[in-house]
């Protein structure tokens, strides 16, 4: 890799203008990025950093006419892509520069077969006969390691899994052996094990074809796994550029340092003493979805899914139990069964020696307050039509607390979760994602629960906000001696938050134990696979923080 040669792609002083009346004038401001042959350049930043729009500007895919390149050049070969004609841009797209996207489901046309969608690339860029095109397409699907390429050719996108769809997208993007591949968060929508496979595939194909890859991501773990060079963006500006080693281990800019500092380390935190008092005991919990017949027995027999299969665990006073697993593992269903949002078929949910599972509505009511929940989506978890004060106080009022008492307690809670008291009379839409999550936590604390069930409470948040919320949860748990069930797909988060872990797959707990033990010595094969798939596992952000 010689840096002296001319760059494949040279973005100079790029300005992308937003429509008048937006929060800021430029989505991307004065960004300069150089991509060389045979290298993977990661553009990393939080939401709103302008990283995605930079990528789209290169492809000429900005949402015209509102968003446009205002200044600067995008030099590629002999062309300035910021000014090139539509015809030339079309020639370049798909043949010299290709792109893959975050959502492989929506990025493929749902009513067209995979084969035809790949075929289009050849038809528009090369003069080839139909049989050659088909042979080449099958070859491509084989190259991205899709099983049974001939069957996949005739399949529609909905018949493939998420990972398979992303492989098909990659095959399509690499069909004409482009010089540059732009990947816009291509693994964000995928499970961690699938993500690891796709990352490996991209890296392998890149090195065998000497492609230059512009890889957009928010995840420093992914950066650590595949980047040769890194560009860090913040608020539309490039704040730091360097080799992967420089940025990851010796970051110079304060923002980069803060970002890396916020990445949870994979080494579990020091174990804490375990209490003897069992707060919550779940035994042989079972939940089956579907299987019922539709009206008059005419509907299609619904497929049975054993979402929770014989799950047992106990939660001691003051400890945090992490339930980790990929999507579809049943971890969220377990959480919802415990708080009785979903009725489990069988098993026991023992809280203070009372089995909550069979309780009816009325009998359950006094117990509701003892188990409260923090939800994942900070935008969906607050009623947009109610004021924040009402949202938090609602539970207390329902439990019969007088209005003044509920209000003063609500103001107290706002203070505890780090929000201004004035939030009381505002509506949820006036707050950012992180602030909303604080409101959600305040609501859950309002009834002084014994157990807090947190369902992916930070996975919708940017990494720096995520660190703040995790810190808040930790603080509250200490202060109120709460016990917590923490659902997450992110092993980094789990390592920093949880005292004990239960690893779930296909509705079953495959392994449980203390966090340190599981990370150091995973016994189940699936746990090993999960741990092996964590992006950036060989990189410890704390080392970077120390060196800085």
């Amino acid at each position: 890799m010689t840096q002296s040669q001319n760059p494949l792609l040279d973005i100079c002083n790029l300005h992308v203008a937003l429509p008048a009346g937006s929060q800021r004038e430029f989505a991307v401001q004065d960004a300069s990025i150089r991509l060389h042959k045979n290298e993977i350049l990661c553009v990393v930043g939080e939401s709103g950093s302008g990283k995605s729009l930079t990528a789209r500007a290169v492809m000429g895919l900005l949402p015209k006419p509102h968003v446009r390149v205002a200044k600067g050049q995008i030099l590629f070969g002999g062309d300035d892509l910021a000014k090139v004609s539509d015809v030339r841009m079309r020639e370049i797209r798909g043949s010299e520069i290709s792109m893959i996207f975050q959502e492989p489901m929506t990025a493929l046309n749902p009513v067209m077969t995979i084969g035809r969608q790949i075929d289009e690339v050849f038809r528009f860029h090369r003069a080839m006969v139909a049989r050659d095109r088909r042979e080449k397409a099958i070859q491509l699907l084989d190259d991205v390691q899709l099983p049974d390429p001939r069957r996949i050719m005739d399949a529609h996108p909905h018949e493939l899994s998420g990972g398979q769809r992303q492989r098909a997208m990659i095959a399509m993007a690499l069909a004409l052996d482009p010089r540059i591949l732009i990947a816009d968060e291509p693994t964000t929508a995928l499970d961690v094990t699938t993500q690891a496979q796709i990352l490996k595939l991209i890296k392998d194909l890149q090195s065998s074809h000497n492609t230059g890859v512009l890889f957009i991501t928010h995840d420093f773990g992914v950066v650590a796994d595949i980047a040769d060079k890194v560009v860090v963006m913040q608020g539309g500006q490039v704040v730091e550029t360097g080799t992967a080693d420089e940025i990851l281990n010796r970051p110079q800019h304060s923002y980069t340092r803060a970002l890396i500092d916020a990445v949870p380390s994979l080494s579990p935190r020091a174990p804490r003493a375990r209490s003897d008092e069992v707060v919550l005991k779940v035994d042989h919990l079972d939940k089956v979805y579907g299987g019922g017949r539709a009206f008059f027995g005419l509907g299609r027999e619904a497929r049975k899914v054993h979402a929770v299969n014989d799950v047992s665990f106990e939660l001691r006073r003051g400890e945090t139990l992490g339930i980790v697993g990929e999507s579809g593992s049943g971890k969220s269903t377990v959480a919802r069964c415990i708080v009785r949002l979903i009725d489990a078929e069988s098993g026991t949910i023992l809280l203070e020696n009372t089995d909550l599972r069979p309780l009816g509505r009325a009998a359950l009511r006094p117990w509701r307050a003892k188990i409260q929940m923090v939800f994942q989506d900070p935008f969906a978890s607050l009623n947009p039509r109610r004021k924040v004060g009402t949202i938090i106080a609602q539970g207390m009022r329902l439990m019969g607390r007088p209005a003044e008492e509920a209000e003063s307690r609500t103001r107290e809670l706002l203070d505890i979760v780090g929000l201004d008291e004035r939030a009381f009379d505002r509506f949820p839409h006036e707050f950012s994602g992180g602030q909303r999550q604080r409101i959600g936590i305040a609501r859950a604390l309002a009834l002084d629960p014994e157990v807090l069930v947190a369902d992916e409470p930070v996975s919708a948040l940017d990494v720096s906000i995520q660190a703040q919320i995790l810190h808040l949860l930790d603080e509250i748990r200490e202060r109120m001696t709460l016990s917590m069930v923490f659902i997450t797909h992110d092993l980094r988060v789990a390592a920093q938050v949880c005292d004990r872990l239960a690893v779930m797959r296909h509705g079953k707990v495959v392994e449980a134990g203390s966090t340190g033990e599981i990370f150091a010595n995973p016994r189940h094969e699936y746990t090993r696979e999960l741990l092996g798939a964590v992006p950036g596992k060989h990189w410890d952000p704390r080392q970077a923080a120390l060196s800085a």
Partner: protein
């Protein structure tokens, strides 16, 4: 609510619609002042063209004043349109809310019923109902409501179905809130926008159905309506074009205005949709 009016006023078509609607409303409200006589009564020479014999819009074969008919007809159209829509929206919201919230067999039963009502050709069904109940303003309102509610029910069911699993609703369950309170206090306010939009568009449809019924001779025989005027004037097409033409324009303008207002409401209440187009 300045935000709402600001967004509504940005749509010039919607403001135009609102203006027309205000004029129609004004005409309906003042009909008895300007035309105190019974619109069915003989008001002068029959078959007078517009402008002649003191008839602004002419008279028909029985000497009835077309303009008076239009003014009184406005009252009928707006009244029937509004009341029938309110009844239909109430039925639809209750059915849709129960089906969407509870799901399961309740959903199955209610939705099959809705499907059946949607399958039935609605206008013929309305004709049948009015014919069986004998034409009167009540039977017309009932008939229009009965054929209009399924659309509301489907919409509300869809909204409830997606909102009932929204996390803020689940949060209400975790503090032990009752189903009725969740449905009325938490979910319903969040689907008011689409209900208002579909309701406003339904007023337009109701007016069209009413005029169609009256045209076929199924109007309330004691109440003047635009459809009746056109129906009565159709035999005079050759000799007195104005008898049919003006009431038709009245229907057209009113329905158009309501549709424009409905779309304006849609744009103003669902800003996300507006940005897309």
């Amino acid at each position: 609510m300045t935000g709402f009016w600001g967004r509504f006023a940005r749509n010039r078509q919607a403001v135009l619609g609102l203006g027309i609607l205000a004029v129609v409303g004004l005409i309906a409200a003042t009909a008895h002042l300007f035309f105190p006589e019974d619109p069915f009564s003989l008001a002068g020479r029959s078959m007078s063209p517009p402008g002649a014999n003191g008839f602004l819009l002419g008279s028909d074969s029985l000497g009835r004043d077309v303009a008076a008919g239009i003014a009184h007809g406005a009252k009928t159209s707006l009244l029937i349109g509004l009341v029938a829509t309110i009844v239909a929206v109430c039925i639809g919201v209750i059915m849709g809310a129960l089906a969407g919230y509870y799901g399961g067999w309740i959903d199955d039963v209610l939705m099959r019923t809705t499907e059946m009502f949607q399958t039935i050709p609605s206008f013929i069904f309305a004709i049948l109902l009015v014919a069986i109940m004998k034409p009167s303003i009540e039977s017309i309102i009932i008939a229009i409501a009965v054929v209009s509610w399924p659309a509301v029910a489907r919409l509300v069911r869809g909204e409830f179905l997606s909102l009932r699993n929204r996390e803020f609703v689940q949060a209400c369950h975790t503090v032990g809130m009752s189903d009725v309170r969740i449905m009325l206090g938490e979910i319903l306010p969040n689907c008011l926008s689409p209900i208002i939009v579909i309701g406003s568009l339904m007023v337009a449809t109701a007016i069209l159905i009413e005029s169609g019924l009256a045209f076929l001779g199924l109007g309330d025989p004691n109440i003047m309506s635009w459809g009746f005027q056109i129906g009565a004037g159709r035999t005079l097409l050759r000799s007195a074009w104005w008898v049919c033409t003006f009431p038709g324009i009245a229907i057209l303008l009113t329905v158009l205005a309501i549709n424009l207002v409905g779309e304006g409401l849609n744009d103003a209440l669902n800003p996300r949709l507006r940005e897309r187009s």
